[in-house]
């Protein structure tokens, strides 16, 4: 019963700190918007092909007709015109260049040879020319069945399955979630420091209530608060950014060991360093490093090709990758591993924090000396 009263008191403290609560939701929400928008290009897998329309100068013979018709299936629209008009169009910018087709071959004139459309036209023209040459050779050899060009779909192309990769908002919808939970370590340290700050530690210590109960209540509420904040953020992201979490309840459950890790880190740092100010300074630095290495701000593979594996050295990276695999590939292997690692580390850190906390009982530090 007393434990529940203590839990209730801790929850009241959190609810009364509305500024921090709001920050814990608004901050990642805003970052998701900024980073998701700014870096959306890095996550896109589709390149939009431009509409290609070029003037063509030709004799108007069968070869020209074949060139024009087959160009249509390659996504290029040719319109016949005179050389003078073709040059004029290219000059005025109405078209990127022009094609001439005569008995000698295909010529492509453009001022922008590096553009995607130029590459497509060059590729198409090159293939057509080679095919025409092959047809001539076939005709010379009397292989009439090989004369007809077969520029059909002899290349089979398959795209990458885009549904298995997150978009930029999908990416930051997860990384910002795990990042803000990491900052919950600071919240946990401050929760423990509250009793010292308000000097209520004396009352707790001189009351018959067990110090074990105090520690348990503080740890429990710090972990619970992180999970509630995570749930609120997920719901907000889902509603506003349409971030897909596959199953939010499952993801929340998966985050329990990670919440234990974050809370344990904060409590351990507080007990080791002895005051909230030092603990917060160290935690701020540590959290930044863990989130950065874990690809929380920017995927490492974008900055350093081949660096994607470094993320697994950070618990944040482990959890992020595990969640990506679960949400986008329905693969549970890496998330289970991440849960085991973060939960194990969290438990160890909580144990260390507890041992140091218990050592305080009866010490001079307990009286604030």
């Amino acid at each position: 019963m007393r434990f529940l009263k203590f839990l209730k008191k801790e929850i009241l403290h959190i609810l009364h700190d509305s500024d921090s609560l709001l920050l814990m939701v608004l901050f990642p929400f805003a970052l998701t918007l900024v980073l998701g928008s700014a870096l959306s290009g890095a996550f896109d897998r589709v390149v939009n092909m431009p509409q290609i329309s070029l003037p063509i100068v030709s004799k108007g013979d069968m070869q020209s007709s074949l060139f024009i018709n087959q160009g249509r299936s390659a996504g290029i629209s040719f319109h016949e015109t005179s050389l003078k008009d073709a040059k004029e169009e290219a000059k005025t910018g109405e078209s990127d260049g022009y094609i001439t087709l005569d008995g000698k071959g295909v010529s492509y004139y453009t001022d922008n040879p590096g553009s995607i459309s130029a590459m497509v036209v060059r590729t198409y023209s090159g293939i057509f020319a080679k095919q025409a040459t092959m047809a001539n050779l076939a005709a010379q050899k009397g292989k009439l069945d090989l004369i007809a060009p077969r520029m059909g779909n002899y290349v089979e192309s398959q795209g990458i399955d885009l549904e298995n990769e997150p978009s930029s908002f999908g990416y930051y919808g997860i990384t910002m979630l795990t990042m803000i939970m990491m900052y919950g370590a600071i919240q946990a340290a401050n929760m423990m420091d509250l009793e010292r700050k308000e000097r209520t530690y004396q009352r707790l210590k001189t009351s018959p209530y067990s110090m074990n109960g105090v520690f348990l209540a503080k740890s429990g509420v710090s972990v619970l608060a992180l999970l509630v904040q995570a749930a609120i953020l997920m719901i907000t992201n889902r509603l506003i950014y349409q971030v897909d979490y596959r199953n939010m309840l499952m993801v929340t459950l998966m985050l329990i060991p990670y919440a234990l890790f974050c809370g344990g880190l904060g409590l351990m740092m507080y007990q080791v360093l002895g005051n909230a100010r030092s603990a917060n300074s160290v935690l701020n630095l540590l959290i930044f490093l863990l989130v950065f290495i874990g690809g929380g701000y920017v995927p490492l593979s974008i900055m350093m090709p081949g660096a994607a594996n470094i993320a697994s050295y950070s618990p944040v990276g482990l959890i992020n990758n595990g969640l990506f695999d679960y949400i986008y590939k329905n693969d549970l292997a890496s998330i289970i591993r991440a849960m085991a690692v973060t939960g194990g580390l969290g438990f160890i850190m909580l144990a260390v924090a507890y041992m140091l906390y218990r050592k305080e009982e009866g010490s001079n530090r307990a009286a604030g000396y």
């Binding site: 007393r2 000097r199 004396q202 307990a366």
Partner: protein, 307 residues
């Protein structure tokens, strides 16, 4: 109700508390009087279990603090020197929470919370957060949190430090009232007037030791060969020469009046008056008093209580 025996506490090589022994009878108000740094708070912290003692024994209601710590804690209520309340919680939430730590629940908890807040005069403000309170109100809430569970022994560690006189008087009246209801009280202070007004018995502490203890008459008897003369003087007072008069041990200036602590000697008063007249110092008022606690402390320790 409380018995301490040969308490010792060291911090590195410094002896904060040295062989402190005293007892508090059920139903009495016992004062620990001494200047800052005398060891009063350290003694309280040992008794309440906040810090470990190096030597000695403490019995609370007959229970040994070392063997029955939890049982002892149930019997005690603490009002610490520093405010120990949650500023973001309401008065009611504060009192209710601390009451719950002592096992109060349900209707009993609500009843005690209400009565305690009424007792300290904060019931009307029970829904307001502690951070909106004045200093005096916070002190009253601090007291309320210590007595919500109706302890047998209430320990107040300098509860009136830094508050206005009105709140101070209110607190002292509350303590008197509690005592009339049968509560045993251990009260530490460095204000002589509080100890004189409230306490049945007083222990005077200095440098970690009890230099004297007893009722006020008993303490006065320890300095009976002394007398204390208070004078209101105008002009240039020859302090050095006055100190040279036989038997004069200390000259203290309190509220613009000169207080002479003297070991009684023949013709002493005459010598003092002659000296003052000779230096053309006008004596506008004079009084010969019984020693107060300040005088007793001064005589026994050679130091002022206000140092």
């Amino acid at each position: 109700m409380l018995q301490t025996s040969q308490l010792v506490k060291r911090y590195d090589k410094n002896l904060a508390v040295s062989s402190i022994s005293f007892s508090v009878q059920p139903g009495e108000i016992f004062g620990l009087l001494g200047p800052n740094g005398a060891g009063k708070s350290t003694t309280i912290n040992i008794i309440t279990g906040l810090i470990r003692k190096d030597e000695g024994r403490v019995l609370v209601g007959g229970a040994d603090l070392d063997k029955d710590l939890v049982k002892c804690k149930y019997m005690m209520g603490i009002v610490p020197q520093d405010l120990a309340i949650y500023s973001d919680l309401t008065a009611e939430q504060n009192v209710r929470f601390f009451g719950s730590l002592y096992g109060l629940k349900g209707g009993k908890l609500e009843e005690n919370t209400k009565e305690t807040l009424e007792f300290v005069g904060l019931y009307e403000r029970r829904k307001d957060r502690a951070k909106t309170f004045s200093g005096g109100m916070k002190r009253r809430l601090n007291i309320a949190c210590g007595l919500v569970h109706r302890p047998k022994l209430l320990i107040l560690d300098e509860p009136t430090v830094g508050i206005d006189p009105q709140s101070r008087n209110h607190i002292m009246e509350s303590i008197t009232q509690l005592n009339k209801q049968g509560m045993t009280i251990l009260y530490t202070t460095h204000y002589m007037e509080e100890a004189e007004h409230l306490c049945d018995r007083i222990a005077i502490m200095d440098m970690g030791q009890i230099v004297a203890q007893g009722t006020l008459p008993q303490l006065r008897a320890m300095v009976e060969e002394h007398w204390y003369i208070t004078m209101a003087l105008k002009g240039e007072v020859p302090m050095e020469q006055l100190r040279m008069v036989e038997g004069v041990e200390q000259i203290d200036i309190r509220d613009h009046r000169y207080r002479f602590s003297c070991k009684q000697k023949k013709n002493q008063l005459r010598d003092l008056l002659d000296l003052l007249i000779h230096h053309q110092v006008e004596i506008t008022d004079m009084d010969i008093n019984e020693p107060d606690l300040e005088d007793i402390f001064l005589t026994l320790t050679g130091k002022s209580l206000r140092d």
